[in-house]
């Protein structure tokens, strides 16, 4: 009768079984996929916008927003470690035994049952045979033990490559060591403290000095990965660890100051290097350490590695020319701004807040029409938000220099109402001096009632023929056309056409109107230039394009959503460098485990274990050879055939 198996025995058997291990490997693989499909650790609002409140809450509950630190994921990992450990505990004694023993007690009966066994007849005496076979085995790099059996037979038990067994132990211990190292570098201590209510993440946007102790990690924190952003010329001794929708403050045992941040570029405009000159001060240092860190070249101090991680604007000073598109004055006025600060415009109900969000000195764009040209640097741009009194905001992104599009130059400004939208771009044509003024003055002219009358009368005067009544009528309708365009752009024009012209003539009427509009606008442009003491422009194709583009831009301004156009004129760059600071005590464990893993894998794959028994039977004038391996591969067949052939030859020829 079989002894009953206890529950704990059964659990042990299950956990240490191969079946369980392979299932865990598969489960871990599948679970890992989740985090690659769903973007991890995004700000929570992004998830809400993308998936909706319901799914967001479900995902959050299941820990899918940070899978690899979710409790259930860690439990799978824990099971893997337990399973691997038990597997080693269960099999290692056997493996070590297999590694050491020669199995010189194998019986003839069992040897004859081997898949790979053969008899070789020989007439030589035992002693000579023993020497010969020993030499053979030594030459083949076998180690062996000889045993005299009671019936006069001599058994030589040989083994080769049993170090392969160590491969098993190495690889499996390596997994445990690597997971242990990973655990040391994980955030488990914080999780425990959070569970106990000792620590709490901070979600408020407040100065790091004001963050309470319960949201701070001390300088003695064993392991962390924190971020720090320093504007040039500033210093700090704390870093931030992002957790879910909040953060923790990591106090540092030293102060880091950023002297300078540099971006170098290749000739194509692609960034070549990001470098920060930092100064580390510490009361334990007699003099501060100066170091330069760049990507792939961190600096390590007090076990904390400081990496170049990213960069952003650190409060560049921007100088704008602000064009008030609703006003009737002809020149913009100067406005200053500082990136990541705010300003205000207008007053009363019209009051607007300007948020200067971003400034980028280099923008590598591919502007060719078919997208096949080379990307190049198009110069700085800036992003700002205009927020009205009720809190609604539009975002504007404008390039400082005119961009070359389809062979012509435009001041380009994008507008969007929410961050999810793509920018819609306004293209304002640059004038012959590559300035925006030509367009702005033309627009003012076309919006000025007196100017409209003058334009109409001047264009009418150029009309051939001398029919005064017709001319007056023409002048009248030209005025009407300009006023209509001023009020509502192309859509207003088409509304008028639709209401006044029969359907089959609308196309032609629209063509005529557009031609007239262009003619009038050209006249207006010459007038506006005359006002600015500029010579008239020649009436070339180029000018015609400028006029057409200007009209288009005027029309598009109706959809620009603000009466303000911020033209960036000048800037003083101030950058901020983003560092990652890590202390990872588990790293060396992980590396040590990795080396073990590689050694173990090579041992398992490339050390061939062979056991060879040579039973000398003097009475029968026979040598029985049997071979086995723990892996039943083709190699074993080949090796056995070779050994058999060599031994047969050896024992026969010398006979």
């Amino acid at each position: 009768m079989k002894a009953p198996i206890s529950l704990s025995q059964r659990v042990y058997e299950l956990l240490s079984s191969m079946r369980f291990a392979v299932s865990l490997l598969t489960l871990l693989g599948v679970a890992s996929i989740i985090g690659t499909v769903l973007k991890q650790n995004e700000p929570y609002t992004n998830y809400i916008v993308k998936f909706g409140q319901f799914w967001f809450e479900l995902f959050e509950m299941l820990g899918l927003l940070d899978v690899y630190h979710a409790a259930w994921f860690l439990i799978i990992l824990l099971f893997l470690v337990v399973s691997t450990t038990l597997c080693v505990i269960r099999n290692a004694p056997l493996m070590i035994k297999e590694w050491q023993v020669y199995k010189e007690h194998a019986t003839e009966k069992s040897l004859r049952l081997f898949g790979h066994q053969a008899s070789v007849t020989t007439t030589q005496p035992v002693a000579a045979l023993q020497t010969q076979l020993s030499d053979f085995l030594t030459a083949e790099r076998y180690t062996f033990k000889t045993r005299q059996q009671d019936n006069g037979d001599v058994l030589i038990a040989a083994k080769l490559g049993t170090h392969q067994r160590l491969g098993y132990i190495f690889t499996h211990v390596a997994i445990v060591v690597i997971c242990f190292g990973g655990l040391l570098d994980g955030n488990l201590p914080f999780k425990v403290q959070e569970l106990l209510g000792w620590k709490k993440i901070e979600t408020r946007d407040i100065s790091s000095r004001k963050v309470p102790a319960e949201s701070r990690l001390g300088v003695d924190n064993l392991s962390f990965r924190a971020n720090m952003t320093l504007p040039e010329g500033e210093r700090d001794n704390v870093a931030f660890v992002r957790v879910r929708d909040g953060y923790l403050v990591q106090d540092l045992p030293f102060t880091v100051a950023l002297k300078d941040f540099r971006i170098e570029h290749y000739a194509t405009g692609m960034p070549k290097s990001f470098e920060s000159d930092i100064v580390i001060t510490d009361s334990e240092l007699s003099k501060p350490i100066e170091a330069t860190i760049r990507v792939n070249h961190p600096y390590i101090y007090k076990g904390i590695a400081i990496y170049q991680s990213d960069f952003q604007d650190g409060g560049s000073e921007l100088k704008f020319k602000l064009w008030d598109l609703a006003a009737s004055n002809q020149d913009g006025f100067d406005v200053d701004g500082v990136v990541s600060q705010k300003g205000s415009l207008g007053d009363g109900a019209q009051k607007m807040t300007v948020e200067f969000n971003e400034f980028r000195q280099f923008n590598i764009l591919n502007l060719s029409a078919d997208g096949k040209g080379k990307p190049h640097n198009v110069g700085p741009n800036t992003t700002l938000k205009l927020r009205n009194a009720s809190g609604q905001a539009r975002e504007y992104m404008s390039y400082m220099q005119p961009l070359q599009l389809d062979g012509r130059s435009y001041f380009v400004s994008g507008m969007r109402e929410t961050v999810q939208d793509e920018f819609k771009y306004l293209r304002i044509p640059a004038d012959d001096a590559l300035e925006i003024n030509g367009f702005m003055h033309l627009r003012q002219t076309l919006r000025n009632e007196q100017a409209i009358r003058d334009i109409a009368s001047q264009v009418a005067k150029q009309m051939p023929g001398d029919n005064a009544a017709l001319r007056a009528q023409f002048e009248q309708s030209l005025q009407h056309l300009l006023v209509t365009f001023k009020q509502g752009g192309y859509s207003e024009l088409s509304r008028i056409i639709e209401s006044a012209v029969p359907k089959d003539q609308r196309e032609q009427a629209a063509q005529t109107y557009l031609k007239l509009l262009n003619r009038a606008a050209l006249q207006g442009y010459q007038m506006s230039r005359a006002q600015r003491q500029l010579p008239p422009v020649p009436e070339t194709q180029e000018t015609a394009m400028f006029i057409q583009d200007s009209l288009n831009a005027m029309n598009d301004l109706f959809f620009y959503g603000t009466p303000y156009y911020f033209q960036l004129k000048n800037y003083t760059l101030k950058q901020a460098s983003g560092f990652q600071l890590t202390r990872s005590p588990g790293q060396n464990w992980v590396y040590f485990g990795s080396v073990m893993l590689v050694l173990g894998i090579f041992a398992m794959f490339y050390i061939k274990e062979r056991r060879l028994w040579l039973l000398i039977k003097p009475a029968q004038q026979e040598v029985l050879l049997a071979m086995s391996s723990n892996r039943k591969n083709m190699d074993l067949d080949q090796d056995f055939a070779r050994v058999q052939q060599q031994l047969t030859a050896l024992l026969h020829t010398t006979a």
Binding site: M18, A21, V22, L25, T26, L28, G29, S32, I33, G35, T36, V37, K39, V67, Y68, D135, F136, A139, E140, R141, G182, D185, R225, Y266, A267, T268, M270, P271, K272, S273, F274, R294, V295, N296, H297, P298, A305, Y307, S309, Q580, L581, T582, S584, Q587, V590, S594, L597, V598, I601, F602, M604, F605, K632, N633, M634, D635, Q646, A649, L650, T653
Partner: protein, 379 residues
């Protein structure tokens, strides 16, 4: 029989005169490169240079065809480099460069030869002709030769664009696809010799030609063949070991999957008489996966070490890292079943075939569909 003097010759004694000449030539090349270009290398890169001398000496000693390949690549590359006379414009003007040795031309020759090799292998399979199969092998060797010449000359060309642009050509999808073709081809040729069979060439060349197709599409549709400077994150000596190790893994897994395909066909009675016996295919599949697994492990560890230096942590659960882990887990499970449970046959063959999908996703899919730190090879 003379084999009976059982004393084995030591490894060093087994080397022939040619072996020594070959090694000395390699060492001379290494020293020459060091003297000339030491300024461009850090200490690690110098050790890789001489490590490569040792590695390729050893490979050439063990497998003389490699020695001939290395010498062929060296001679043709040097002719190519010399023909440039330090001016990139010569690539489009000089006959030898324009039609043979400029990196673009050499890669195109590689592409053409791989296509021809595949067709010839299949022809040999249907003709049951040993001679045709030999021609196919020769074509595969020639394709490999031109691929390596293409990469070597491209390496030089990158420095001709500008000294700061120059880098080893394994930095973007276009370049690593060439590397993939070459490594898979060499692995195949190795097994062709080891198992003394040319019947699998047609199968393995299918996956290589899929890569060739990608290279052609990438060249003509996307113009991705142009040499781009390295982004800061890639400017590291780690690239020189991490990437090749990874592609030995990818190549070996792909090869295993193709052999698995042949195995499944043979099992279903298709081409059975023309293919090696199933247990041979099974053994080859295991050997390929073992090589792949060993090198994929090394590559992932090297990747982790690089990540620790570049991104501030050896493991960030970045999509590429995670998918590398998934690939690793997949083949770890495969090997457990085969080595520990002794499983053989159809299940493992299907698994190896599906494994190729997982591997391909880790290699390509992650770049196409997922975003992360590792986005150097976007399509």
């Amino acid at each position: 029989m003379s084999t009976l003097s059982v004393k084995p010759t030591s490894f060093w004694q087994s080397l022939s005169k040619f072996d020594w000449i070959y090694a000395v030539l390699l060492l001379a090349g290494g020293i020459f490169s060091y003297q000339r270009y030491a300024g461009f290398m850090d200490i690690y890169e110098v050790s890789f240079l001489f490590g490569a001398v040792a590695l390729f000496s050893y490979l050439g000693w063990r497998w003389s065809a490699i020695a001939r390949l290395v010498l062929g690549v060296a001679v043709l590359s040097l002719i190519g480099v010399y023909s440039y006379h330090g001016d990139l414009a010569n690539g489009g003007q000089r006959f030898l460069l324009k039609f043979l040795l400029a990196s673009q031309s050499a890669v195109m020759w590689m592409n053409v030869l791989f296509v021809l090799a595949m067709l010839t292998y299949w022809l040999a399979l249907f003709q049951k002709s040993a001679f045709t199969a030999k021609v196919a092998s020769a074509l595969t060797w020639a394709a490999t030769l031109f691929g390596f010449v293409g990469l070597m000359v491209r390496w030089y060309e990158s420095y001709l664009i500008a000294p700061d642009v120059g880098h080893i050509p394994i930095s973007n999808l276009y370049e690593v696809f060439i590397l993939f073709c070459l490594i898979t081809s060499l692995l195949y040729l190795h097994y062709e010799k080891l198992f003394n069979t040319r019947q699998l060439g047609g199968f393995v060349l299918v996956v290589i030609n899929a890569a060739v197709g990608f290279i052609l599409w990438y060249t003509f549709d996307r113009h991705a063949n142009e040499i781009q400077p390295l982004v800061p994150a890639l400017q590291s000596y780690w690239m020189k070991i991490h990437v090749p190790a990874n592609f030995i893994g990818y190549g070996a897994f792909s090869l295993a999957a193709m052999v698995a395909g042949a195995y499944l066909l043979a099992k279903h009675g298709v081409l059975t008489s023309r293919l090696p016996a199933p247990h041979v295919l099974d053994d080859l599949m295991y050997k390929a996966i073992a090589v792949g697994f060993a090198f994929f492990t090394i590559a992932t560890i090297l990747g982790a070490m690089w990540a620790a230096e570049a991104w501030g942590g050896y493991w960030s659960w970045d999509p590429k890292e995670t998918w590398a882990l998934i690939v690793w887990l997949n083949y770890a499970a495969w090997l457990h079943l085969r080595l520990m449970k002794g499983l053989r046959g159809t299940v493992l063959a299907w698994w190896a075939l599906v494994g190729l999908l997982v591997t391909t996703f880790a290699f390509l899919g992650v770049n196409m569909f997922l975003s992360g730190l590792h986005s150097y090879g976007t399509l």
